[in-house]
């Protein structure tokens, strides 16, 4: 079963998306911020990570940068950022580019489709 890690500080959204992913047949783990997310990645070893950008302690971008620079073993792991910004120029980071972007509000069907395209 494909393992997904969903990182989001907003509890309601986190629970809803996790439930939806579980319903779609994925094994789901969640984290509340970047620091928690890094620990979960090492513990769960997910096949794909979906992370919000704005979060306390460590945001999604910082987590991605940390993974790509200090945890090379996860280089192949798709990392999808959930951004509030719609234009790719503002969302992309040349140092640690995300595998893909999703825009809030997230459409569940589109989310499943994107995950399936990578796993």
């Amino acid at each position: 079963m494909t393992k997904i890690l969903y990182i989001e500080d907003e509890a309601i959204l986190r629970d809803d998306i996790a439930e939806e992913l579980h319903h779609a047949g994925f094994e789901v783990a969640t984290a509340v911020d970047g620091v928690d997310g890094l620990q979960e990645i090492q513990r769960v070893q997910p096949d794909l990570v979906i992370s919000d950008i704005f979060m306390p302690k460590m945001n999604g971008r910082e987590l991605l940068k940390e993974l790509r620079t200090h945890h090379k073993e996860y280089d192949a792991m798709p990392f999808i950022l959930v951004s509030a910004l719609t234009d790719r120029e503002s969302r992309d980071d040349p140092i640690a580019p995300a595998t893909d972007f999703l825009t809030k509000p997230i459409d569940f069907e589109e989310l499943i489709k994107v995950i399936r395209s990578y796993c």
Partner: protein, 483 residues
């Protein structure tokens, strides 16, 4: 440069001052002009003495000199508009005539002094005045000092010899003119400004170095100003960029919650339990409230930025207002316990809607920045002619160097990194409180928590209490400055 009215001496003094200003401005050209003027001035004196011209002729010359002098002063007032070349020629002619006048009188004294005692006394007085004028001229430039000497030396010589004969006068004047030309020439040469061509290579080098240093300093200073301005602009741009990103996030998160609930309800329409529907409806309402608050905050900030918003003042129960805000906050976020401690508070004259926004902003901030802590303290009491409200959290706190900038628009403290927010809430708080003639203060310790204190005058803005708060505030500022 008064040209009409006032005593003659004052006018003369003003005229001389004008001369001085002119000469200081372009001494390079005026110095030779003075020398030439002195020579021209000496010629009629020699002519008078040698040919014994009648007194009327001398008086006529004096009158012409006076007219020329008056023209010179008049010209001074026009010179700003006159073409440069014309002004220079006119000035030199006028100056020559002006100097000729005392010379002519001095020559007259030498020729006529022994005829009648009264004439002699008059002439002595005129010479004294001429000497006085010359002394004044000598203040202007060293070249003019020579003129004083040429007046005094022949006189001294004449009186020491006391020869009534005309030949003695000739001798004295001749010697005077000789000394005059000598001194004027020397002083003229000495007073010439050093030109780069005449300076030694070492001097040229030093001058160039000094110039280069001065220009470099100027360029560096300008570059610093430009750099500062650029940095300031970049800071503003950064703040605006981060505001757009955060505002976008702040709007889209509640929208995502609403959308998520709607999708859930739609996909599970047939199996969803009534309790779930209620829970979802509550979630949606809470997200809508977040959006409304955010919209209000941004609109208020925009309004306040463009000037004052019109306050609707009425008797306001601040205690009840704060309790209502606390209850609304509990509905949005149940994670924190709000400890409310209020003494008896009088009604105050205020805009309850605007103040409600102040307390909502502070409470939502307290919750947002103290995720690890469980309680927030809200206190209120009366302090003389004001009421004080304190909202204290036990969260991340604020760095000391961020505190002065905390109420600036779009500013976000370092400890707020990763926590959603637009950076406009506190600027709105400050503007609204100040519009009520109140004061907002903040104390914070990083990792321990933050306390916001609001002080509002009971009589509302413009009241005696408001003046009292303003006086306290200014004395506080004064003490801080002194410290």
């Amino acid at each position: 440069m008064a040209r009409s009215g006032g005593p003659l001496l004052k006018r003369i003094s003003l005229g001389l001052r004008t001369l001085q200003e002119e000469q200081l401005r372009d001494s390079d050209r005026v110095v030779p002009a003075i020398a030439i003027s002195h020579l021209i001035g000496a010629l009629p004196a020699i002519f008078l003495i040698s040919s014994s011209i009648e007194i009327f002729t001398v008086a006529g010359w004096g009158a012409l000199s006076l007219i020329a002098s008056a023209s010179y002063w008049r010209f001074c007032s026009w010179r700003k508009n006159a073409p440069v070349l014309r002004s220079a020629i006119l000035r030199e002619i006028a100056f020559a005539a002006w100097l000729a006048f005392p010379w002519a009188l001095f020559a007259l004294l030498l020729t006529e002094m022994q005829t009648e005692p009264l004439t002699m006394i008059g002439m002595v007085l005129i010479v004294c005045l001429s000497c006085l004028a010359s002394v004044q001229l000598s203040i202007i430039h060293p070249a003019a000092f020579a003129y004083v000497l040429t007046l005094i030396i022949p006189a001294v010589l004449y009186y020491s010899l006391y020869q009534p004969k005309l030949m003695a006068a000739f001798g004295a004047i001749g010697l005077g003119i000789f000394l005059f030309i000598l001194i004027v020439t020397i002083s003229f040469l000495l007073s010439l400004p050093k030109r780069p061509g005449r300076a030694s290579p070492a001097e040229n080098h030093r001058a160039l170095e000094a110039l280069a240093k001065e220009q470099t300093l100027l360029i560096l200073r300008q570059a610093k100003h430009l750099k500062d301005a650029l940095k300031q602009q970049e800071n503003i741009n950064d703040l605006q960029r981060s505001f757009i990103a955060m505002a976008s996030h702040e709007f889209r998160t509640p929208l995502a919650i609403i959308d998520s609930s709607a999708q859930k309800l739609k996909s599970r329409a047939e199996t969803v339990a009534p309790a779930d529907i209620i829970r979802r409806a509550e979630t949606i309402r809470s997200a809508v409230k977040r959006l409304t608050d955010l919209t209000d905050r941004i609109l208020s900030a925009a309004k306040l930025e463009n000037g004052y918003i019109a306050l609707s003042l009425q008797n306001c129960d601040v205690k009840q207002l704060v309790i209502d805000c606390c209850n609304r906050q509990r509905e949005i976020e149940k994670s924190h316990r709000l400890n409310i401690e209020f003494g008896e508070l009088p009604l105050i004259l205020a805009d309850d809607k605007a103040l409600g926004q102040v307390f909502s902003n502070l409470l939502s901030n307290a919750v947002k920045y103290s995720q690890g802590a469980s309680c927030i303290d809200v206190r209120g009491w009366q302090d003389g002619r004001s009421i004080i409200i304190e909202i204290q959290d036990h969260g991340v706190g604020i760095d000391e160097d961020d505190l002065p900038k905390l109420f600036s628009r779009f500013f976000r403290a370092k400890t707020a990194e990763g926590i959603a927010g637009t950076g406009i809430g506190l600027s709105v708080v400050k503007m609204i409180v100040e519009q009520h003639d109140g004061e907002v203060a903040v104390t914070s310790a990083k990792g321990i928590g933050t306390c916001f204190t609001i002080c509002l005058p009971i009589g509302g803005p413009g009241s005696a209490e408001a003046d009292f708060i303003a006086a306290l505030k200014s004395s506080d500022n004064l003490m801080r400055e002194r410290a």
